[in-house]
């Protein structure tokens, strides 16, 4: 009797294998593993190797873009001198150091930030709006951000504030960036509320156009009441140019954009969940409402900051994610997020090189150059949309 009780008190014998996390269909899954047809190679995505090659190629393209941007400009500086300057060695022409360090390097960093930020923001917005033509510009986020900037530049209490002075002014910088982000997020919020009621993507895009027109009208009204120097500063800002940003601005531009991009990287799972639409996302345990606000916040931070420093730039946000999708042939955001960053950098560098006509002092407005690249891509996307599957 006592012996029996003792035996009962003993712990149950442990299963031979350490069982994986509790699985409802463990028996069936285990049974499958023993079948010879389940060799892992059969399931290995064949695209993995291709993706690595593509990432490598894009990195090389980015480097070529950087080198070209450093050397090929209105003043031709030989590559060896560029290397000397970057390595801190003395050069024949002291003026070249100024051109490289104070003009070209900031311009390159700005281009990289613009390509990365607008590409990522476009990718995020296309997924959460389930709209292939969604991007900061078409949804009116850029206009909202412009309105925010206009409020700061045109209504700044001290009339002495001009954009040129913002670089040295902490409050000016953060004020401009902050108001651009808030302006962009406000427009996005309105668009999201509308999108939850109206399913038609054409109507949403038209609404973006209408909202842009309204904010533009508001900006015009603000200009009407502003003084001449404020107006000049604003118009100059509005045209947008990679060349304007200097190291002083980059102190704010870089960290804020990187924060936005980091948030974007953290939302890859949510973006993937939203690929199948909000209902499927919800049914796989995602808090859709919260995910949307985080994604919209990240997109607004990136788009707003770009608008604050480089002006409203159109079509890049459509072109880059679609180029990345076409190159990598996937909808998986775990690939698309880095792919968009790495496609965006050479794209924006190329636009920057185009904006600067070599061996002349002419300089195209940057949004003209980006539209030249981006608009055909947007048109191509439209033409490919016939079957409704584009992601």
């Amino acid at each position: 009797m006592q012996k029996q009780q003792l035996r009962l008190a003993q712990p149950e014998p442990k299963p031979a294998e350490a069982s994986p996390p509790k699985s409802r269909f463990a028996n069936h899954i285990a049974a499958l593993q023993t079948q010879p047809s389940q060799a892992a190679s059969r399931w290995q995505p064949s695209s993995k190797r291709r993706n690595i090659w593509l990432f490598g190629l894009l990195i090389v393209l980015s480097m070529v873009g950087v080198v070209l941007s450093l050397t090929w400009s209105s003043v031709d500086i030989p590559l060896s001198s560029v290397a000397d300057i970057l390595l801190g060695r003395p050069t024949a022409q002291p003026a070249w150091r100024t051109i490289i360090v104070d003009i070209r390097l900031p311009r390159i960093i700005t281009a990289i930030l613009v390509g990365m930020a607008l590409g990522l923001a476009g990718l995020q917005l296309q997924t959460i709006f389930r709209n292939p033509l969604a991007e900061p510009f078409t949804l009116g986020v850029s206009s909202g951000a412009s309105l925010g900037v206009a409020l700061v530049i045109l209504l700044a209490p001290s009339s002495g504030i001009s954009f040129a002075a913002l670089g040295s002014n902490v409050f000016g910088n953060l004020g401009t960036v902050g108001s651009a982000i808030v302006g962009g997020l406000s427009v996005l919020g309105i668009m999201m509320v509308v999108a939850s009621r109206v399913r038609d993507m054409t109507i949403i895009l038209l609404l973006g156009v209408i909202l842009s027109a309204m904010t533009y009208a508001l900006v015009t009204v603000l200009i009407f009441f502003a003084n001449e120097s404020q107006t000049r500063a604003f118009v100059e800002w509005q045209l947008g140019s990679f060349t304007r940003v200097r190291w002083g601005e980059l102190r704010y531009f870089v960290p804020v954009t990187v924060i936005g991009a980091l948030i974007a990287c953290l939302t890859t799972k949510h973006l993937n969940a939203l690929l199948l639409g909000e209902h499927y996302a919800q049914s796989s345990g995602i808090n859709v409402q919260r995910a949307r606000w985080i994604i919209m916040g990240s997109a607004s931070i990136m788009a707003g900051t770009v608008v604050a420093y480089a002006g409203p730039i159109g079509f890049v946000g459509i072109a880059i994610p679609h180029l990345a999708r076409g190159l990598f042939k996937t909808s998986d955001h775990r690939v698309l997020v880095p792919a968009t960053i790495l496609t965006g950098i050479p794209f924006a560098l190329a636009c920057g090189i185009l904006a600067e006509v070599p061996s002349s002092s002419l300089q195209l407005p940057i949004d003209a150059a980006t539209s030249l690249f981006g608009a055909p891509v947007a048109a191509w996307v439209l033409l490919r949309m016939k079957r409704g599957a584009w992601m």
Partner: protein, 330 residues
């Protein structure tokens, strides 16, 4: 032990309207779903099937009453907890195209993966099993936009299965499929339920399919109630016939199908058996004749001959077409 996996307690579903008012579509539902059971939710279009499905899957709040899954009310579960118990296949149109079957099924592992959604060894095993269990091994490397409608449904079922749920709920999974594909999907779901212990609810308006495969039917009535039972019980006590009584259709209790309710254009007597006899009767009924078997006077007599030919009132006919033509001329 025999607790239902999914149950509703005096559930009313419908729409919340403005000013705190609500319009209920289905009322006082006390449904229960056992482990490993395959249930078809059957009802006419617009009867409230989708509303019930949205409520059962926690996409819409009930007007009153509650839904429990393994004895826990849905609204007490977090979204992630619920996702480990319940998965869905919806009618939502997919816009995504550049995704392989394997990647799509991997999305079903969302409730189990970390912040970045990366899959571990076990997740990969589950994905492979889900593909295998839905006969979708060959879809693993195919892109979603290269799949047929039937293949898409299979891969969406595999995705739902990869969630390792206790209950899978499907909204009209056979709606846009041709007949062989419908049978394929239905028998797949039935097999999954019976072999793995998964409980499956599938809404459909396809009566034949439901009668032929469901363990039990949830039958939606006009008055907003739902009757539950085996298809056979529901046929025998006339409840199935009652569901559709408003329409111009007549439920044929013998064959378990519907016939348009029309006045017969005449009577014929048929002496035949076997496959040929069965289809001759089918043809005569389709043409609108009331077919008698017993010997009765005053109506044309159709006889089956030895060589599968026919004779109508001494007139030989080679096939059914000629019989119908001759009858039409009388």
């Amino acid at each position: 032990m025999n607790q239902p996996v999914l149950a509703t307690d005096n559930l009313s579903v419908g729409y919340h309207q403005r000013r705190g008012q609500s319009r209920s579509v289905l009322q006082n539902l006390n449904l229960s779903l056992a482990k490993g059971e395959f249930v078809c939710l059957l009802g006419a279009n617009g009867a409230g099937k989708s509303t019930l499905i949205r409520t059962l899957t926690h996409m819409q709040a009930p007007i009153s009453g509650s839904v429990t899954i393994n004895q826990q009310p849905l609204h007490h579960l977090s979204k992630a907890q619920l996702a480990k118990q319940l998965s869905v296949v919806l009618t939502d149109r997919l816009q995504v195209s550049n995704l392989t079957g394997y990647e799509l099924v991997s999305l079903g592992r969302m409730p189990y993966t970390n912040l970045f959604g990366s899959l571990n060894q076990h997740d990969h095993q589950v994905v492979r099993w889900a593909l295998h269990a839905t006969n979708s091994d060959d879809l693993a490397q195919r892109l979603l936009n290269e799949m047929s409608d039937g293949e898409r449904q299979r891969i969406m079922i595999a995705r739902a299965l990869a969630q390792e749920p206790a209950v899978m709920i499907l909204d009209e999974p056979t709606a846009f499929l041709d007949l062989p594909r419908r049978v394929e999907i239905t028998s797949l779901l039935r097999k999954l339920a019976h072999e793995t212990g998964l409980s499956v609810v599938m809404s459909t308006h396809d009566l034949d399919l439901a009668i032929g495969s469901a363990d039990r039917l949830w039958l939606v009535f006009d008055d907003g109630s739902i009757e539950c039972g085996t298809p056979e019980d529901l046929i025998l006590d006339g409840r199935l016939a009652q569901t559709f009584r408003k329409s111009q259709l007549q439920f044929d209790q013998q064959r378990g199908g519907f016939r348009a309710q029309t006045q017969p254009i005449g009577q014929v007597r048929l002496s035949a058996n076997g496959l040929h006899g069965q289809w001759m009767q089918h043809a005569l009924e389709r043409a609108g004749y009331h077919v008698l078997n017993a010997k009765q006077a005053d109506c044309p007599h159709i006889q089956q001959l030895e060589n599968d030919c026919w004779q109508v009132e001494h007139q030989p006919c080679a096939n059914i077409d000629q019989v119908l033509a001759y009858l039409g001329n009388i």
